[in-house]
Symmetry: C2
Subunit: 129 residues, 2 copies
């Protein structure tokens, strides 16, 4: 609770439940998964609140929105620099904590002002292979 004060967003019970669900969560949950989980405690929980909160958290730099899964957005509360590897069979996502020193040469960037990069690995996870 205290540690969320700095977010400068209203800390409603619903939001605290969402934050609690996200904290330390390594599953890269979708909005629907968060919704289902928090709805157990707050049966009136709505997607408006879920998305509203996720948007606020994203804006404050507290979570990342992942587009690694084309079917739906996934959210990652781990803001430390890392990449992901996704299983092409079960779609589960794991973290990759390795830094790759990749730079785009001026000529290759085609006039872009590059502001970031994203590396996705894919393959078959331990369970699925």
């Amino acid at each position: 609770m205290e540690r969320y004060r700095r977010l400068n967003i209203k800390l409603t019970p619903q939001r605290l439940a969402i934050l609690k669900h996200l904290e330390g969560n390594k599953a890269h949950p979708s909005a629907d998964e968060i919704y289902k989980s928090v709805k157990k405690k707050y049966p009136t929980m709505s997607f408006a609140t879920i998305y509203n909160t996720l948007e606020a958290l994203k804006e404050k730099g507290n979570i990342r929105e992942l587009k690694i899964d084309p079917a739906k957005k996934r959210y990652d509360p781990d803001m430390s620099p890392h990449h992901h590897i996704i299983c092409t069979k079960c779609s589960s996502i794991f973290d990759v904590y390795k830094d790759f020193d990749i730079r785009l040469p001026e000529e290759t960037a085609g006039g872009f002002k590059v502001s970031g990069k994203n590396i996705e690995f894919f393959g078959t996870c331990r369970k699925c292979k």
Copy 2:
């Protein structure tokens, strides 16, 4: 026409129009963009046909489905190994023809059998900056 025979899919006029639209296309078009374009010549064109054809082409390894744009799938007929850079303002996508020698150490892969990788850059394009 001839060069599409090896695809082993029925070459209907609609499909040839889709193939023609895709050939050499560097715009990474969405299904809707392909639909709009092909509909000019085939006014009865439907999304069923668009998605059906794109799925067939993807399966035969003739196009790639890009997930770099979270709003919608984009399609890339360029199967040569390359990466992408997307403009965070106008969402236009450009190709990056540079090979990055990135490998995931056994320990970091977490039991995964890695089969590929994908690098996305993002930034502001020449026009938008």
